[in-house]
């Protein structure tokens, strides 16, 4: 692709894609769905943040993290802690033996707020924490691993282990975290009731806005020089290293960025659904998030969003009516994506739909540049 094909960092087809997605999310879905279904779409979109992060770090940089649930959870828990503190004001909790602390702490015989909960009284701190905590955490993991050149499969297994450690920790430390039930019964944000339908649709639009902003950011990263180094690194890491780049730093950066995206998704999830629990942190949800990204297409940023929407929608509707079939379906999907269409829906689109569209609209179809047939 020559530099003249794009304006700033978006190619023409990217702009068309983003406009179509925005129209779908902002206009079509809100008009077509009732508020219950729309809230559900809003919930799915929070996973799309994770899938977006995975496209960047797995599709473009070749780092498959099986622990994105960690960051989704960290963001979600930060938000949940703030909301929980607001819901546990002294008058709300006056039946407890020590009023003013969250109910599960009271049940677990904690008499005062743990020190790491205290800063979450402040909304500013919470917003900062949602971004900073996962970024720092990912930074530590990333530096420790990439500087020692732990990569590929080993990185995946270790992130998976960390996700399972964190889940055990959250479940084990009931008094501080709410245990297996998580942090529930969240009511207001700054005195604004988040449980009403009106609030939920506002939150939906906030979520869409953040998602679109994240997509633009991801496109920017992808098309910048950094993005090209990432792709080069994925394909021939040693050659990039020998050219004088410090490969580890780029990997850490992209891993942190994907962690931050996941955490924003987690925080929006807590806001829209009204609780956070360890069942969104562990290895199973983390791998499910990978499948969202794989189904959409591991090399396509927009594909990740569609993949997430489709798979989560299929999950909800199938597991409502045929609970047994769902796991067969999901399992089959994993296998099919890997064996039959490794580049996901976006790959299918590129191969089968785009050339025909090109004929119809008289556009010259472009072969995707820099995309290997199968990415590892």
């Amino acid at each position: 692709m020559t530099p003249f094909d794009r304006s700033f960092f978006l190619a023409r087809k990217d702009i068309v894609g983003i406009v179509i997605l925005s129209a779908l999310l902002i206009v079509i879905l809100p008009l077509a769905l009732d508020s219950f279904r729309l809230q559900m779409v809003g919930k799915y979109l929070t996973y799309a943040f994770v899938a977006l992060g995975l496209v960047l770090c797995w599709g473009y940089a070749g780092i498959l993290s099986l622990g994105q649930g960690i960051f989704f959870g960290l963001g979600g828990y930060c938000m949940a802690m703030y909301l929980k503190l607001e819901a546990s004001s002294v008058e709300n909790t006056k039946i407890q033996s020590t009023p003013g602390i969250p109910d599960f702490m009271d049940w677990n015989q904690l008499t005062e707020l743990p020190y790491f909960w205290r800063p979450f009284h402040s909304f500013g701190f919470t917003t900062l924490a949602i971004v900073a905590v996962p970024a720092i955490f990912a930074g530590i993991i990333g530096f420790a691993m990439f500087k020692r050149r732990v990569g590929g499969v080993y990185f995946s297994i270790i992130t998976q282990a960390i996700a399972s450690i964190l889940t055990i920790l959250i479940i084990g430390q009931q008094g501080y975290t709410g245990g297996i039930n998580g942090i529930t019964d969240l009511r207001t944000l700054h005195g604004w009731d988040i449980r009403t339908d009106a609030a939920k649709s506002i939150l939906y639009f906030v979520c869409v806005g953040l998602l679109l902003a994240s997509i633009l950011l991801a496109y920017y990263v992808k098309s910048s020089k950094l993005g090209r180094i990432l792709v080069a690194m994925r394909d021939k890491e040693d050659r990039v290293r020998f050219s004088g780049y410090d490969v580890a730093n780029f990997k850490v950066f992209i891993f942190c960025l994907s962690a931050i995206l996941s955490a924003i998704g987690g925080a929006m999830f807590t806001l829209q659904v009204g609780f956070m629990s360890p069942s969104f942190v562990g290895t199973v949800p983390s791998i499910e998030m990978v499948i969202y990204c794989a189904v959409g297409g591991r090399l396509s940023l927009l594909g990740a969003v569609y993949g997430t929407l489709l798979v989560s929608w299929a999950k909800t509707s199938l597991s409502e009516s045929f609970p047994e079939l769902w796991l067969f379906g999901l399992g089959g999907l994993f296998i099919a994506v890997v064996l039959v269409f490794p580049n996901g829906l976006a790959g299918l689109y590129q191969t089968y739909v785009a050339p025909h569209l090109g004929k119809v609209f008289g556009l010259k179809p472009k072969t995707p540049s820099g995309a290997p047939a199968v990415a590892e």
Binding site: S156, I158, L169, T283, F328, V338, E376
Partner: protein, 308 residues
């Protein structure tokens, strides 16, 4: 925490705890051996390894029911039959899986992870549909129950001893098969350089298939051994998979000795910590220790030097 016990009690507690650790160690070794072959030798990330174990456990459950109904007089030896059935069933499923999906993915290790995860979901749901969501257990034959008193305060469970014996036998067989037989030589040749092995006349496809089948079969035996210690449910496999991978990676994926050493370290650390802390905190600390050591020494404890 030491003040409440007398010195003698403390000694017995440590011995008992060490024994519990040894049982855990045997189970870890059994779980990890199959994976060490599949992941360490072949480089395939088999996320369905736990489900292959559970298949072995269910086969044992079926065999025990069969013996109870039709051959009650032979019930005391059912376990040996069950192990063979478990090995064959898991091994056969392994062959089928290798033939239908793994063989297309040898060049894409991360994709084997996704595909086998899908397989594990399908297997879990199949178990749930066939055997029900409830956990099932088997009845041990009388000679396996009870415990042997060693001293007044120390006693060891017979089924624990049996699992340990079984582990020794299986480990030795795997060692002989991989390092002392001509088939093992072929396996290692294929794993180190598939193209070259093919060029000198080794049927690499067949070797791959049977190696994968062997790994899955051993998982089946591990599952069979599980039934002596606890009950089995459709999702039990998922509980073990992270541990099993850590054992293999920690030991240095390609080394059999490494797997044993790392299983020993992890199990002893966990069972000793469990006595002082809650079970979940012991597990957290052990896993955390393993992760930190892996960050310092990414290749694991024991590695074979190979040119890459």
């Amino acid at each position: 925490m030491f003040m409440d016990y007398s010195l003698g009690d403390l000694g017995s507690i440590f011995v008992m705890q060490a024994f519990a650790g040894l049982i855990l160690f045997s189970i870890f070794v059994l779980m990890a051996l199959g994976l060490a072959i599949i992941f360490g030798q072949m480089g395939v990330i088999n996320m369905a390894h736990g489900e292959f174990m559970i298949l072995g456990a269910y086969m044992t459950y079926l065999t025990s029911n069969l013996f109870q109904t039709y051959l009650p007089s032979l019930y005391s030896i059912y376990f040996f039959v069950a192990m063979a059935v478990a090995f064959l069933a898991s091994g056969a499923l392994g062959l089928l899986v290798e033939w239908s999906m793994i063989r297309f993915l040898y060049k894409r290790p991360l994709d084997t992870l996704l595909a086998t995860w899908g397989l594990s979901l399908i297997l879990q749901q199949s178990y749930r549909s066939i055997f029900g969501a409830r956990e099932v257990g088997v009845e041990l034959p009388p000679w396996m129950m009870g415990s042997l008193p060693v001293t007044g305060t120390i006693e060891v469970q017979i089924n624990g001893l049996f699992v340990m014996g079984l582990t020794v036998v299986i480990t030795l067989s795997v060692y002989l098969l991989l390092y002392r037989s001509s088939w093992g030589k072929q396996v290692r040749a294929v794993m180190q350089n598939r193209v070259m092995a093919g060029a000198v006349g080794i049927n690499t496809e067949k070797t791959d298939r049977y190696t994968f089948g062997l790994g899955c079969g051993i998982a089946g035996i591990a599952g069979s051994a599980f039934t002596m210690i606890g009950s089995t449910g459709p999702t039990a496999g998922q509980l073990y998979i992270v541990d099993t991978f850590l054992v293999v990676v920690f030991g240095g994926a390609q080394s059999l000795l490494g797997v044993i050493a790392s299983a020993f370290t992890i199990s002893q650390a966990q069972s000793t910590l469990e006595f002082f802390l809650s079970g979940s905190m012991a597990k957290v600390l052990t896993l955390l220790g393993v992760v930190v050591i892996l960050m310092i020494r990414p290749q694991g404890l024991f590695t074979i030097k190979v040119r890459r």
